[in-house]
């Protein structure tokens, strides 16, 4: 069974909606309470990133099953300005508009797999996966 949930990010409340959808999915997959917190927080960071810098965008939460393992894939897609220097964006404390800093590199630490694909003027897609242990 494949379960996918999509939340469009348009305002602050959508950030809450996205992380609640993430927590529900994590609970459904029986992630432990710490991983639930990691996943929910990662979604919150990604959703806020979209809201602050890259509207319009969405968060896609998808259950994945591979080699007898279950996991949750979070994809943050936006049609924002794109990231010029991805390596720099992954440095702690780096921010282009005096914002949060902790966000993106933090997400990388909270999740098991992490990938960014970005094109200037087109948008950014961040994919993060957490596997059930």
């Amino acid at each position: 069974m494949k379960t996918t949930n999509e939340v469009s990010i348009k305002n602050e409340w959508d950030i809450v909606a996205a992380r609640q959808a993430g927590r529900e999915a994590a609970k459904r997959l029986e992630f432990g309470i710490v991983d639930q917190s990691r996943i929910t927080t990662a979604i919150s960071e990604l959703a806020r990133n979209i809201y602050l810098y890259a509207l319009p965008g969405k968060i896609v939460i998808e259950e994945i099953h591979k080699n007898n393992r279950n996991g949750l894939r979070i994809v943050a897609k936006d049609k924002g300005p794109g990231i010029e220097d991805i390596r720099k964006a992954l440095e702690d404390g780096y921010t282009t508009s005096g914002g949060l800093g902790a966000g993106v590199p933090g997400v990388k630490r909270l999740m098991d797999e992490f990938e960014i694909d970005s094109a200037i003027g087109v948008g950014t897609e961040v994919t993060a996966v957490k596997w059930l242990k």
Partner: protein
């Protein structure tokens, strides 16, 4: 959603029991500072036991509340941060070093009473 702020003798008590969105967090910041000013409370306990998630933004607001209240002359203690939330915050790279913390509400009140 306005978060209630309770006055208890010369302390203020805030227990966050809802999923805190960004706007409510900012409102709480302003409401609490106004309430400190109004009541001249000597200390504030921010009770966080029910919070299942604290992300970088909410953490920043909490840290700012601590610093702003301190600037006014009032100590804030954060209490009851859940293990999962503590793990996530540190992994995220957020240490909230300037904040006084306590395991629970009782210990938070003790800390404030000890300070003064």
């Amino acid at each position: 959603m306005r978060i209630p702020i309770l006055k208890m003798y010369d302390l203020l008590l805030v227990s966050i029991q809802v999923e805190l969105d960004d706007i409510s967090a900012l409102e709480l910041q302003e409401d609490l500072l106004n309430k400190i000013h109004e009541t001249t409370a000597k200390g504030v306990v921010l009770e966080l036991t029910s919070m299942e998630i604290i992300d970088s933004y909410i953490a920043r607001i909490l840290g700012e509340i601590v610093s702003m209240a301190e600037l006014m002359g009032t100590k804030v203690v954060l209490t009851g941060i859940q293990p999962a939330v503590a793990i996530t915050l540190i992994e995220l790279g957020i240490h909230l070093k300037s904040a006084n913390t306590a395991l629970d509400l009782e210990k938070g009140i003790e800390i404030l009473n000890d300070i003064y």
